[in-house]
């Protein structure tokens, strides 16, 4: 019998939905025109790019004009952060972020710090949460910009973005959030959410890789990272990735459908079953991230006495795809900066395991993982000098 295969690494990437792929296909050969061309071939494709912009905007309650398509989430983060810094450098030089950001944000902000800006990197609590009070206390007269992620990719904690954004608005500080993990998975409405810029990525929500977007609130002025032909309202030059953009639009539409169908509730149920099951069946397991304020599809734990990469390979051998913030998956000797910022010891953080569910994950998949994981842990613990005998 063929081995069961259970993919639980949707935080890394999601499969392209069939309907997304179908929507994309014409844009490789049939509708191949350059959307910037004046002729019929180009005009037709331009219409579809505009349609996709409307769809992505509708996912956020934004206006189409506020959506800038980019080459992915990292590029959108860079555009927002470097753009804000350059736009506002005459007003001040202080920039704020959190210690658990994705490297696309953290490294970009650190780079600003090496280039004349003052940077504050806020700590988080044991659940990976930024405190609004700490955030407020870190503001200075010359603070121009803050960026805090919507939800963390490693531990799933959802930040109090509305509160942080409101604090920034009171003080006239530009606020960006990297919502790559959250967009398409939790409802986000920029008509009520006080953010000025927000990053999203298609391949985290069943769209294609290589396309992302930055929401830029109307009235916010930033310079481009990529200069050239002036596409994307002058903010991202280069001929548009039309198939990718159309796919992103379709993925946004499907995400809205999933919210209407209550699919996130189904994910939440399976996530809780997974977390509860792991804690019931394996001892010395620490849930990482906030128990309830977490992404609906995200379960992450640290399993004591063993190392994450070894766990991943043994899970892979029984058909389960997962990930880890262990040092050995990164080639460095330090485990994930997120887990360390949450106050976990190096030894505990080495045993991290991230299981991120998808829209097609079934209860049978979860049962399979709950049966397969304990023997993997037991085998590795039996090999470990710290394992329980």
């Amino acid at each position: 019998m063929e081995q069961r295969r259970v993919y639980l690494d949707h935080s890394a990437t999601t499969p392209v939905d069939d309907r997304v792929l179908e929507a994309m296909m014409p844009f490789f050969k049939v509708d191949f025109g350059n959307p910037n061309s004046i002729h019929a071939w180009g005009r037709r494709v331009r219409e579809h790019v505009n349609g996709a912009r409307e769809r992505v905007a509708s996912l956020l309650g934004a206006e189409p004009r506020e959506i800038i398509f980019t080459g992915g989430g990292s590029e959108a983060d860079n555009l927002a952060i470097k753009g804000a810094a350059f736009a506002l450098k005459a007003r001040g030089k202080h920039v704020i972020t959190s210690a658990i950001e994705h490297h696309a944000v953290l490294d970009t902000v650190k780079w600003l710090g090496e280039n004349g800006f003052d940077v504050t990197i806020l700590p988080v609590d044991a659940q990976g949460m930024v405190s609004p009070e700490t955030f407020r206390n870190s503001l200075r007269e010359d603070t121009i910009f803050a960026t805090v992620m919507y939800a963390n990719n490693e531990v799933g904690t959802v930040q109090p973005i509305a509160e942080l954004g409101a604090i920034c608005r009171e003080r006239g500080i530009l606020f960006h959030t990297d919502a790559v993990q959250a967009a398409g998975h939790v409802p986000i409405d920029v008509r009520t959410l006080p953010v000025d810029m927000l990053t999203l990525s298609a391949h985290k929500m069943y769209g294609p890789k290589g396309v992302g977007a930055l929401y830029v609130r109307r009235g916010v002025r930033i310079p481009p990272l990529v200069h050239g032909g002036g596409q994307e309202f002058g903010l991202r030059s280069g001929t548009e990735n039309t198939a990718g953009i159309v796919g992103f639009g379709e993925a946004a539409l499907l995400a809205l459908d999933r919210f209407e169908n209550g699919d996130d509730e189904k994910e939440r149920f399976l996530r809780d079953k997974l977390i509860d099951g792991i804690q019931a069946r394996i001892d010395a397991v620490l849930l990482t991230g906030h128990r309830t304020k977490r992404l609906p599809f995200h379960a992450s734990v640290c399993i004591e006495h063993i190392e994450g990469e070894a766990m991943l390979l043994r899970l892979d051998a029984v058909g389960i795809g997962a990930s880890s913030g262990s040092a050995c998956t990164s080639g460095s000797l330090d485990p994930s900066h997120v887990l360390l910022a949450m106050g976990l010891s190096h030894v505990t953080a080495h045993g991290s395991l991230r299981l991120s569910l998808g829209k097609d994950t079934t209860e049978a998949d979860i049962d399979y993982v709950l049966d397969a994981l304990p023997p993997v842990v037991e085998t590795l613990r039996a090999m470990s000098p710290f394992g329980r005998k």
């Binding site: 006495h305 063993i306 190392e307 990469e309 070894a310 390979l313 043994r314 051998a317 262990s326 040092a327 050995c328 080639g331 460095s332 000797l333 485990p335 190096h346 030894v347 080495h350 039996a382 090999m383 470990s384 000098p385 710290f386 394992g387």
Partner: protein, 125 residues
């Protein structure tokens, strides 16, 4: 990223565990860095009659320690001390660059176990 040999020694490790009344024990590495290797040896007539390992670490660390135990079993202590991390790497068919330190840990583990045995003997003498 791993050779078939590494995968095999990781998924089917040989000589796992610890020896009752071991004659020498070498524990090397640092849990903070994610790798701790403990090698226990039984010595008869200056030869390694039996050997076991326990490892906290990644697949490369487990495979390195497992194959190293096979490489030194039956060897004299002096021969065992000549086993280098390069020998371990060759036996595994190589490791990714960032995992080379795992093979070094195996070499250090063997050395620490032999040294532990010799210092115990010296104390008895």
């Amino acid at each position: 990223m791993y050779t078939e040999t590494v995968r095999d020694y990781f998924l089917n490790p040989r000589n796992v565990g610890s020896l009752d009344h071991a004659d020498g024990i070498g524990e090397v590495g640092n849990a903070k860095c994610g790798d701790v290797m403990k090698i226990s040896i039984k010595v008869e007539d200056d030869r390694i009659a039996d050997v076991r390992f326990e490892t906290f670490g990644c697949a490369a660390a487990i495979a390195s320690s497992s194959i190293a135990t096979e490489m030194i079993k039956g060897k004299t202590l002096d021969e065992a001390l000549k086993v280098t991390n390069k020998d371990v790497l060759d036996a595994l068919g190589g490791l990714p660059a960032e995992k080379i330190h795992c093979s070094l840990l195996a070499e250090e583990g063997i050395r620490a176990a032999v040294e532990d045995y010799r210092s115990r003997m010296a104390e008895r003498a």
